[in-house]
Amino acid sequence: MNRVVIHAEALSKRYRIGPIERPMQLREVLTRALRSPLSLLHPAPRETFWALKDVSLEVREGEVLGLIGRNGSGKTTLLKILSRITRPTSGRAEIRGHVGSLLEVGTGFHPDLTGRENTYLSGAILGMRKQEIARKFGEIVAFAELEKFIDTPVKHYSSGMYVRLAFAVAAHLEPEILLVDEVLAVGDIKFQKKCLGKMGDVARAGRTVVLVSHQLNQIRRLCHRSLWLDDGALRQDGPTAEVTAAYESAMSATDSPPAQSAAQASSTAPPAARIVRWEIAEPSAPGASPHTLASLGPVAIRFVLDAPVPLRHAQLELFLYNAERVLLWSRQLSGLHLDSGRHSLLLRFPMLPLRPGAYDWSATLWDDEFRSDRWDSFPSLLVATESLQHPLDELSGPLNLPCELSVNSTPLLP
């Protein structure tokens, strides 16, 4: 049995919500001090919430641990505490070994600096030694496929180039313990695979990795063991197959609405209706995931909606976002009348020409009594169609469209 490298006992983190969330105005403090000078000694009671509640865990050397849970379940908070970015409110932890954390892509990148300069800067911020960066520099540039542009300021890069370089630097970070938050979820699928491969190498090299991801496939591929965080508390800790299965069934179970609905948080009235799941209705192939789109043809998306009470004059809005949370498409539907019970909503598209990657559905619903629901899709829509992007095209938008180009009516060969 390998030695324990992360040992955490009863970690909890409380955040204040309300005024502290934005930087305070001196005025507020001064007026408060003038009204009652003693109040400065007793900070005004603020609404607080516990982002992490009593989480204990142990990770052994060489283990690759997955962290799963809904948005806001405390995954990132746990990573931030373990990487010492923020302190726990109570509890303690011990970590043996150099820790590297990847909480975003391109940490420390500066637009005015060249690719080379940013590689050194970002590498140093992520915790690499200058020597180490110098040694790996050629490898990093080759990995990013940016040999020609390495001395160009990154503000002239396309977003694809930028992300590739940022990834390449991050992927070459080799601390003893690596904490990764979702950073592999952007970039095109080809590059994602490359990064996953690199992560797999890191894991096989005996380094300890804690990985947060919404993409359960990534977790299944990389992690032996997983933790499921629910509402800041540890819900399950065990072999990845078991934990992800339990998590998935809880997420898709219709009788566990809190898993998918944010209604309670946004309104006091009970929601009039809620979307309980979505799936690709067409094309459907036996055995294929109902959330992965693999062909560039007609598509039908089904949303299943549960209405405990009849809906009158309801307004429904559907949104499709990409991984960077850019709105790509939306559709509004007003004057919706539905009886109580289960309903199916079908969206038909002649095609969904999206570049390969992860996308998210989102919906909002109001009825005339202001009972509302806001719903973020789970799981993501994975587009895995063949990329039609020209290999030399660095500036690529969100669309994956077949295109023929002619010059003076002479078709250009691809």
Binding site: A93, R96, A124, I125, R129
Partner: protein, 289 residues
């Protein structure tokens, strides 16, 4: 494992014995970890390097600003405060009198303004990666030294051009510079932490810097201040620095001995208080975005 580069390579993280980190809620007032600062010296260097690099990247005449800024200010001061207002200059030619004050003052004000903003400017990095936050204000104060070095060479040139010859007094210059660095860092620690908590600081800074400049002997000699207020005046560490600079460079006037001693004591207090305050803020700044 192939090492390219020099033989003085630091140990690879994997080759060094694994450190043990303790994570716990913040307790007590001061948890200085000088060892850790030393471990992060390379990152400190990179922050300084980034600062210097970016500062003049998009400017047309680049580093020439380092020389132009104090030179133009000197010209304005010489004309208005010198020739028109006829303020005394301890018998020094006006250009030397003002430039000898403006070079340390420009360094100080750049360093202090830089340090004040640096935590807020780097909030993104702060919320994504751990490093001792203290290296941010330190890097701001150090990066100003590059500009200072260039301006200082011009200052020496100007002094020599006016036929003034510094004597042994010039040996005090490194100490005076250190005093200016420590003042900028000490005040910078306070202000950068305050700035992270209250954005009002940004609006206060222009007034503060202006006030501080007039409370320092930049446009007038310290001897203009009545004797019975001198002690109060000496509490401003930049008084000792600027008077000291004039004296050490030109060899004229008297050594600001008592002033410098008082200044040093005050700086130590500001620095110690700043460290405490910064450390208190450090634990929460990542939560304040």
């Amino acid at each position: 494992m192939a090492f390219s580069g020099t033989s003085t390579a630091p140990l690879e993280p994997s080759a060094a014995p694994s450190p043990l980190y303790h994570i716990a809620p913040q307790r007590g007032w001061l948890e200085l970890r000088p060892r850790e600062l030393w471990d992060y010296r390379e990152l400190l260097f990179f922050f300084v390097w980034r600062d210097v690099k970016i500062r003049y990247k998009q400017t047309f005449i680049g580093v020439a600003w380092v020389i132009l800024q104090p030179l133009l200010t000197m010209a304005v001061f010489t004309l208005f405060f010198g020739h028109l207002a006829k303020l005394p200059s301890q018998g020094l030619p006006y250009p030397v009198f003002y430039f000898a004050a403006l070079v340390p003052w420009t360094y100080f004000s750049t360093a202090l303004l830089g340090a004040t903003g640096i935590v807020v400017e780097n909030q993104r990095v702060i919320t994504k990666v751990y490093f001792p936050r203290l290296i941010l204000p330190i890097s701001a104060v150090l990066s100003g030294l590059v500009d200072f070095a260039i301006a200082f060479l011009i200052l020496v040139g100007v002094t020599l051009a006016y036929g003034l010859r510094p004597g042994f007094a010039a040996l005090y210059l490194p100490f005076l510079l250190l005093l200016a660095v420590a003042t900028a860092l000490g005040a910078g620690l306070w202000l950068s932490a305050l700035n992270a908590l209250y954005r009002d600081v940004r609006y206060v800074m222009p007034f503060l810097m202006q006030f501080w400049m007039f409370a320092s002997p930049v446009v007038y000699p310290a001897s203009l201040v009545p004797q019975r207020w001198r002690w109060l005046y000496g509490l401003n560490p930049m008084t000792g620095v600027i008077e000291g600079f004039r004296w050490a460079l030109t060899g004229q006037g008297s050594a600001p001995g008592v002033l410098v001693l008082a200044s040093s004591a005050v700086v130590l207090l500001i620095l110690a208080g700043g460290l405490l305050f910064f450390q208190r803020m450090e634990g929460t700044v990542a939560d304040l975005v």
